[in-house]
């Protein structure tokens, strides 16, 4: 048995509330490519702490409002049990 961390984000929701900000606009604000925004939003890439702060700064919200985590307990049979902080 071991624990892994699952990082989720609310970028889509935050973009919606920021006047339906486009991925391109967010990418420009954070200084990254649109492809990276697509990957982060889809949970395919976990950004570095610096980039996570830059994204939070682009929305003008604390980092915790953009990214969340939960500990997942891995059982021997491969099933996962989540625990949100």
């Amino acid at each position: 048995m071991g624990e892994t961390i699952e990082i989720t984000n609310c970028i889509r929701k935050l973009r919606f509330f920021a006047d339906e900000m486009t991925q391109q606009q967010l990418a420009e604000k954070a200084g990254i490519s649109r492809q990276t925004i697509v990957a982060i939003e889809g949970g395919k890439y976990n950004p570095s702490l610096e980039l996570a702060f830059r994204i939070a700064h682009a929305f003008n919200v604390p980092i915790g409002e953009v990214f969340q985590y939960r500990m997942i307990e891995k059982k021997k049979n491969g099933s996962k049990k989540g625990e949100t902080p």
């Binding site: 200084g31 990254i32 490519s33 492809q35 990276t36 889809g42 949970g43 890439y45 570095s48 980039l51």
Partner: protein, 166 residues
């Protein structure tokens, strides 16, 4: 298709074309008797020639790709904004498309690792062929071709990481 993926596909195609042309040249020269198992000097000259050609072709293709990509982005922007966008804005969009961020760097590193592993396998294979008593001609060719294949597979790995994520 994004800038990184289009660029990688262009590189894969360039590598594949160069590899095919090289193999054709070796085969034709071998059939014509210009190259043979004991004519390593001619093979080395051909390889050096192909290295030179490879560098020139890669640079030329990169330049053409960047020009075409920039034109494509400019056209897309013009159509999107119905002709109401200035050169500065188009320039900014092109720059934004070509930005190399931390994800691109990480994918670069990971795919380079794969390319390095494949070229290492090629090196070991060439040593094995030498140990088995095959001519140096075969050994050197395995080494050279494995470098091309490593480059191509590195490109595929890059596309895989861009599509699937890291």
């Amino acid at each position: 298709m994004t800038y990184q993926i289009s660029r990688t596909i262009t590189r894969i195609l360039t590598g594949a074309v160069l590899l095919t042309v090289y193999l054709f040249q070796v085969y034709n020269r071998y059939q014509a008797g210009i190259l043979s198992m004991d004519k390593i000097q001619s093979l080395a000259q051909l390889m050096l020639l192909f290295l030179g050609i490879g560098i020139v072709v890669t640079i030329a293709v990169e330049i053409v790709f960047h020009i075409l990509f920039s034109i494509g982005v400019a056209m897309k922007e013009t159509i999107k904004k119905e002709g109401d966008c200035d050169d500065k804005e188009i320039g900014r969009t092109i720059k934004q498309e070509m930005v190399e961020d931390e994800m691109a760097k990480l994918i670069d590193l990971k795919s380079l690792k794969i390319g390095y592993a494949i070229s290492s396998i090629g090196f070991v294979s060439s040593l094995i062929s030498l140990a088995l008593g095959h001519p140096v001609f075969i050994t050197v060719n395995i080494l050279f071709v494995s470098l091309f294949i490593a480059g191509i597979l590195e490109g595929f790995a890059r596309i895989y990481y861009y599509k699937r994520g890291i």
